[in-house]
């Protein structure tokens, strides 16, 4: 309960700041962005993150999954190693490199975010599938489940909470990275922040930064909720039992 109060309070505070800043209309000679522009930028921001995440999930889960297969045993250390190391690259550096390689604009930003956001999904999918007890798979095979059935009903179901945790990390990080992508002309809330920094007006920076933070918190809570609903009860009990030990 306290969790929800804090969460709600924080979101209200950030939205309050946004509305307040927008209501200022101008600071000195600088005009604040009008409300419609802030809303549009937020929508654009959401769109960048959404598109990038959709691609990252669509590709990251299969890559992570197939990295666990025997046939991939020579390729997967490279893939997983890359995913791990890739995540250590700071977002700012990543966007800088992406801008240099892919050019400027919305598309370049989506591609950059998709690649960057795919890394935790690949890593968590791989770890989640690998964590399934081999004897569970052996039992499933011995009872006559087909490979497809084992993947769909056993492996992915058991790995699902870990995979979702990867998606959650990826999304939250990408809300932030998308803001940085404002630097390469992606649009979105990052544009307001970049403008604010350029003209050194804190209020304009806040106008972009506060809704970015709110968006990250909301998406984090939303995916957390999905995670909670989707995780089978048996796995929650198992996890709780393991914590107690």
């Amino acid at each position: 309960m306290r969790k929800y109060v804090i969460l709600g309070g924080l979101i209200a505070l950030l939205l309050g700041i946004t509305i307040w800043m927008t209501g200022l209309e101008s600071v000195g000679i600088f005009k604040m962005a009008p409300a419609t522009k802030v809303l549009k930028a937020t929508a654009r921001h959401f769109q960048i993150v959404g598109a990038a995440e959709a691609l990252a999930i669509a590709l990251g889960i299969p890559i992570g999954f197939f990295s666990t297969r025997r046939a991939m045993r020579f390729v997967s250390p490279v893939l997983i190693g890359t995913a791990n190391v890739g995540q250590t690259i700071p977002t700012l550096a990543f966007i800088g490199i992406a801008g240099a390689v892919l050019g400027m604009g919305y598309k370049a930003a989506v591609i950059a975010l998709f690649i960057y956001g795919m890394l935790p999904i690949i890593r968590n999918t791989y770890a989640g599938i690998r964590s399934v007890d081999p004897s569970v798979i052996e039992a499933a095979r011995g009872m006559g489940m087909s490979k497809m059935q084992i993947t769909a009903r056993i492996e992915l179901r058991i790995a699902m909470p870990v995979i979702l945790a990867g998606i959650r990390t990826s999304t939250v990080v990408n809300v932030g990275t998308a803001a940085v992508a404002g630097m390469i002309g992606a649009g979105g809330l990052g544009e307001l922040i970049v403008t604010g920094i350029a003209v050194r007006v804190t209020q304009i920076i806040l106008q972009g930064a506060a809704p970015t933070a709110a968006l990250a918190i909301i998406l984090d809570a939303a995916i957390g909720g999905i995670e909670n609903v989707i995780t089978p009860r048996g796995l929650k009990i198992l996890k709780a039992a393991q914590w107690q030990q």
Binding site: A139, M143, M145, I158, P232, L238
Partner: protein, 373 residues
């Protein structure tokens, strides 16, 4: 029912896990694959349901070459239980047990009734446990669910890879007993892998002893113990094989009629007379319904005129189904040295004495001498 013909398994790295193995398991027979680790027992078992592909040779299940069947269909028709149990952690006990019925597309209503039935069969309350998750059960209970699950679609054949391996010795013994009881009613054809000679003797109708991928001896437990084919078998079954052999007998097989049995209204003097005539220093006291009361010893006879008063209460009694090795340890613990065998209501059925056991032992060693000569 299951027939292996010159079955050979060579792994990619060149190791020969199983060499030219041929054996047959009759319908309803409990067959043990026994041997030290690396002997090929698990590989042999897993080739039956094609979890491990065979390199050469043929395996027939019910007269059908397993290579001609769809592997998943084949496996759904054969129960499978393993040492690490491998229950599905995200599914309830009911869903775990109903795995094969689900795969075989049984109507949904039947899953639950079937699972409940099997849970009761393995000694668990279906009302309490059907909707629990594996992580809420003790290891012993998980092991039971594992057994119930392998019986899910009532397959005629069971493959079991050390299914009682992961639990403490007391629970294991209990589960073994219960499983034997279940098997006596369901009469499945079973291939059961273990490295434990005691488990093999206790459970098996026939034992296939393997070593380095070769079948060394395939016989019933008594023959394995009494007529080891070579030095390896002799060493594997152990120096205490005579004592192990005791496990094959039950109290009812070797008990004798009580040589002297009296009711309480008898006079001690008459009892003494009988003891002298029979050269025995003990007798057994029963009530009018032949329920066992206690022991009378010759030295106590003069202490009272009532047999009831001089009677020594029995510290232990045993049931006719007790394995002889357990009966012997009870005898070693009892002051009298003899053990009364009684039924559930306490009626005296017979008595075990060290003389009888000595007789059995000497008969067995004579058998062995004549075999050797």
């Amino acid at each position: 029912m299951i027939k292996l013909e010159n079955v050979t398994k060579v792994y990619q790295d060149g190791t020969k896990a199983v060499k030219e193995l041929s054996l047959e398991i009759e319908k309803g027979e409990f067959c043990i694959f026994l041997g030290p680790s690396g002997c090929g027992k698990t590989t042999s078992m897993k080739m039956i349901n094609r979890l491990i592909p065979l390199t050469s040779g043929k395996i027939f299940v019910d007269g059908v070459d397993v290579m001609k069947l769809d592997p998943n269909e084949l496996r759904r028709g054969i129960g499978y239980a393993i040492q690490n149990i491998g229950l599905f952690p995200h599914l309830t006990v009911m869903e775990n047990i109903a795995t094969v019925p689900m795969l075989q597309k049984w109507p949904k209503k039947k899953w639950r009734t079937r699972a409940a039935e099997l849970l009761e069969l393995v000694g668990m309350d279906s009302g309490t446990f059907l909707d629990r998750y594996p992580s809420e059960l003790s290891v012993g209970q998980q092991q039971r669910v594992g057994v119930a699950r392998c019986l899910g679609a009532d397959p005629p054949i069971l493959l079991m890879d050390e299914p009682f391996g992961a639990i403490d010795p007391i629970t294991r013994a209990k589960l073994q007993d219960e499983f034997l009881k279940i098997q006596s009613t369901i009469k499945k054809t079973i291939a059961f892998v273990t490295h434990d000679i005691n488990e093999a003797i206790k459970m098996g109708d026939r034992i296939a002893l393997l070593r380095l991928g070769e079948l060394i001896q395939y016989s019933d437990p008594a023959t394995l113990l009494n007529e080891p084919k070579n030095e390896f078998v002799r060493n594997f079954v152990g120096a205490d094989r005579v004592l192990k052999g005791m496990r094959l007998y039950r109290a009812r097989d070797v008990m004798q009629e009580p040589p002297l049995m009296f009711t309480e209204d008898e006079k001690p003097s008459t009892v003494g007379e009988q003891m002298r005539q029979n050269m025995l220093n003990w007798a057994m006291l029963v009530d009018k319904k032949k329920r066992f009361l206690g022991w009378i010893t010759y030295d106590d006879l003069e202490k009272s005129t009532s047999l009831r008063e001089i009677m020594v209460e029995p510290a232990v009694t045993t049931s006719p189904e007790t394995p002889l090795n357990e009966a012997i340890s009870l005898m070693l613990n009892s002051a009298i040295g003899n053990l009364s065998v009684v039924d559930n209501e306490g009626h005296l059925l017979g008595v075990l004495t060290f003389e009888i056991i000595r007789t059995i032992l000497s008969q067995e060693s004579e058998d062995k001498k004549s075999d050797g000569g």
